[in-house]
Symmetry: C2
Subunit: 556 residues, 2 copies
């Protein structure tokens, strides 16, 4: 056993933590109405790991000895639990497969290198011995970027980067911090915070995802409006490749031909193992506020988000949920927290008197950071836009609550799965002019898929990550599966949603990578010559296809 | 003759326009002091084009007929002036070669396609007939990106994109405009301005550079702090490649693997011919102000620029000249404009009384855009930083003057060259912590080069394009050449400066591309594996090396 912690083998997060609804009185009726599920159904028990049949490791003793010589005793592991934990990420497809013991191919060995020199030796070993390497950060991926190809005959090693978690250096004057790539979100922010800095990157997976993983999948955090996506945050890189170690020095902007930095971003291990990154960091803001607003309907909310993006205001978060996600949000409140139910009831009565349809209300969060006067000024600018669109302010309460529970949603998925419902997310980005039609097309596509399956299904959405020319729409969907072939049912729904993205002018993913899950839509998204250019990069750096083959371009 | 206008064959800009010093009394003494040149020396006459010996076109009659069938009669030109105009860009190396009639290899034909379909036919023709294609926008490049390889035996065609200049569409709600790639700066802004929009991209070459050229070289404009570099502005692309036409749809941010969009940016024609781009555009700002400030010295000025970048302020321009460039700026003022000399004299007396060394003063311009209240707020935030560093405001006068003459500097280079002095620019970017040592190293490297040459030389600098983690330093250098081998002398100076960039933690260029001029430093900048990745892209898209071979990676 190493000291690198992992999530539950069968689900999200740490052992002993899960979603509970007993203190959330509105939850059970909400779920019954949404997908026809009775949450008081006793949960299916999760199997004991000892009942899982795991294919034997194909690693020879000689190879094990050679790898142990590189990483040290106890850091080249072949036991079943280690190998299963490193087989999948945490998509609903992954969870369904784990619960069904569908493990046709698992890594043959899990390696825990201690430093870049060891990673270099591992890559050399893999090339010389024609083995396959799959880098592993926090294991939170939901796009199939981590899984071994089922037909792969060669030895497969998962490289767990968990021991590479040091803050190497802060260049305080430049606002640049250099970290080893395996550092997880909370550890990274703690090391920075101790010295008064923040990177400001908070994806939903934050608690269980790593810097290297964010870079390898083009992650985006909730505060990207201010701090940028990981592509903007990442300035320098070190990447171990078969031909040597790639070094991109931290330069604010460069004119050095096709961007190699931007080729590593989103490369999912196919262009090498990211060992180190130099990232932009900011002084912890003097003030930080997340304010809640209520819009009369989704249409006016979307226009308001657009108008904020074209105004002089520069908030750190712009986020608004559609009426369904707003309903979900209200249903997961504890009876005694948040906007207390009395105040809420009072406000709702007022809004109803104004002619609002309470089922159409959309909850928005806008974040502000900086000096007190800057925050005040930003709030005032956003306030003008908000009021113009008839919205009302509900203050800091909902924002504080959102901040507290923002990383908890994945636990809910396991709760639902325990009771027979499959849930996952799909997100996209598109120009402002295309967002509303895209939204409607996706809703219709999901409903069509549910009808095809003859099941009750749900889809809800929020807008986040506003940019000048567009934004991200993030959909969460759920349905009660048939218990026979839930993966096939999931494929029908997921496929309908992804196709609607592309057909409506959106991309296959704004910040969840391609992996194997989204690979079928890559050519439709970036055109065949675009796929050819990416294939050219892979062929140049990894002619032996030793680096995470089958990801991004699955047709090879 | 087509209706596509070109610059002078021997120098910058349009016929009949040049730099004059007679109305700038301080200019002659300044130049005498800086490089020991007497500007009253009568200028060397520029040769009549008829005296230039131009190698014959290698294009066969059959090929000429085939190409004329593609682009139409009068648009496949083989006359000498056309071919010489398309041989080089406008670096000092280019100007020296043109004036010395050094034309060892010129394009064999200049093609003016009318649309993307014709470009596709040209690319197919080139691949089938193993010819070389070099795309040409405004011809302002100073990195050798346009020149035919001297040893190239195959037919070389320059593709002048000047006829592709239409605004195809504005998506007003998304702030996205789609243009044909050959459109020049003024034409682009005029088409946008007529509908109330601006792209806000104003590089020094603006009047004679094209959208496609900006994209192919990773250009940056003066107002990049607000509008972004061209890499951020460009959202969608169409690129004709040998394997088909690459289409990148306009998406605000995507997670589709290694970025193909960012591979085309800076590709200098090696990954195809850019025919169309969708770019971010903004409503013309309600108010725009450029305010001048004076700093006591360069050191305090750099700290102030850093502090503005870490403050809540978001100006559209941050720019400060070192003492030498400030002196140059004052020396090129007309006697009767700008800060009137009386006011200047009065201010200088005050500053001298405060203990300032007038030879160390640094002139800064900060730009503000937005609503009147936003501009006022930004000015006030910047003002606090400025004052903290002891600087004084000199108001709108110098800024207005800067706005007027910002595109005139290249004409001065021809004026100096007429009189025996060679001048050019080199620029870089680095983290904030490295800028001052880099600046000192570059000054020392240039002075070392001048000493080695035994000539009087000059180098001056400004900071521009502030980013969170660093900025661009832009150097202009000049020396009186020996009249024997000025190119060899230039190489000594240029090489010393570029090497100092890399050794001091800077990049080979922030926004002038690699071309052939900066290619010797590419490996030191992005490491050998980085060069290998770029080579892999070229090999994948252009296995026949038909697309602008020898650029970016010259060692092939």
């Amino acid at each position: 056993m190493t000291d690198v912690a992992h999530m539950k083998w069968w689900g999200w997060g740490v052992e002993g933590v899960g979603f509970h609804h007993e203190d959330k009185p509105a939850f059970a009726p909400f779920v019954r109405k949404a997908v026809g599920l009775d949450v008081s159904t006793p949960p299916a028990p999760v199997d004991d790991f000892s009942s899982v049949e795991v294919p034997a490791s194909r690693l020879s003793d000689d190879a094990h000895t050679a790898l142990t010589a590189i990483v040290g005793a106890g850091y080249a592991l072949t036991d079943d639990l280690e190998r299963v934990v490193h087989t999948y990420g945490k998509s609903i497809r992954d969870l369904l497969r784990l619960r069904a013991h569908l493990l046709p191919r698992v890594p043959d060995v899990v390696l825990y290198p201690a430093d870049e020199a060891q990673v270099e030796l591992i890559v050399s070993w893999a090339v010389e011995n024609d083995a396959v390497l799959i880098p592993f950060g926090g294991g939170s991926n939901i796009s199939g970027s981590l899984e071994p190809p089922v037909a792969e005959e060669r030895v497969i090693a998962s490289i767990d980067m968990g021991r590479l978690r040091k803050l190497i250096e802060i260049d305080e004057y430049s606002g640049l911090a250099t970290f080893q790539a395996g550092v997880l979100g909370p550890d990274l922010e703690e090391q920075l915070g101790a010295r008064g800095w923040t990177m400001g990157h908070y994806p939903d997976s934050f608690t269980h995802s790593s810097l290297g993983g964010w870079i390898a999948t083009r992650s985006s955090g909730m505060q990207s409006d201010k701090y940028g996506d990981i592509a903007e945050i990442t300035k320098g890189l070190r990447v171990v490749q078969p031909g040597g170690t790639l070094v991109i020095r931290p330069i604010p902007n460069a004119s050095t031909g096709p961007s190699v930095r931007e080729a590593i971003l989103g490369s999912e291990g196919r262009l090498g193992i990211i060992t180190e990154a130099t990232v932009q960091v900011h002084r912890l803001p003097e003030r930080r506020e997340v304010i809640g607003y209520l819009f009369k309907d989704w249409e006016s909310a979307l226009v308001a988000m657009h108008d904020i993006s074209t105004s002089d205001a520069a908030p750190s978060i712009t986020r608004v949920s559609d009426a369904r996600e707003t309903g979900f949000s209200f249903a997961t409140r504890k009876a005694s927290t948040g906007i207390s139910s009395k105040v809420t009831a009072g406000l709702m009565t007022v809004l109803e008197k104004r002619g609002w349809d309470l089922d159409e209300i959309c909850l928005s969060f806008i974040g502000y950071e900086g000096s007190p006067s800057h925050v005040a000024r930003q709030k005032s600018m956003v306030g003008s836009v908000i009021r113009k669109h008839g919205a009302v302010t509900v203050g800091k309460g909902p924002g504080a609550l959102y901040d507290q529970k923002k990383f908890d949603t994945p636990y809910l998925r396991d709760f639902l799965l325990d009771r027979g419902a499959a849930a996952d997310v799909s997100e996209t980005a598109a120009p402002w002019s295309k967002l509303l039609p895209l939204y409607r097309n996706v809703r219709a596509a999901a409903d069509g898929a549910y009808a095809q399956l003859g099941t009750e299904g749900w889809i809800m959405c929020h807008l986040s990550h506003s940019a000048h020319s567009g934004a991200c729409l993030y959909f969460t969907f759920a349905f009660v599966h048939d218990g026979v072939d839930p993966i096939a049912q999931y494929d029908v729904v997921k496929s309908a949603i992804q196709s609607a993205f592309i057909e409506s002018g959106g991309t296959l993913s704004h910040h969840h990578a391609v992996g194997t899950e989204h690979a079928p839509w890559l050519e439709a998204d970036i055109s065949a010559p675009g796929v050819g250019l990416i294939q050219g990069m892979f062929d140049a750096i990894d002619p032996g296809k030793n680096l995470n083959p089958g990801k991004i371009i699955s047709s090879e």
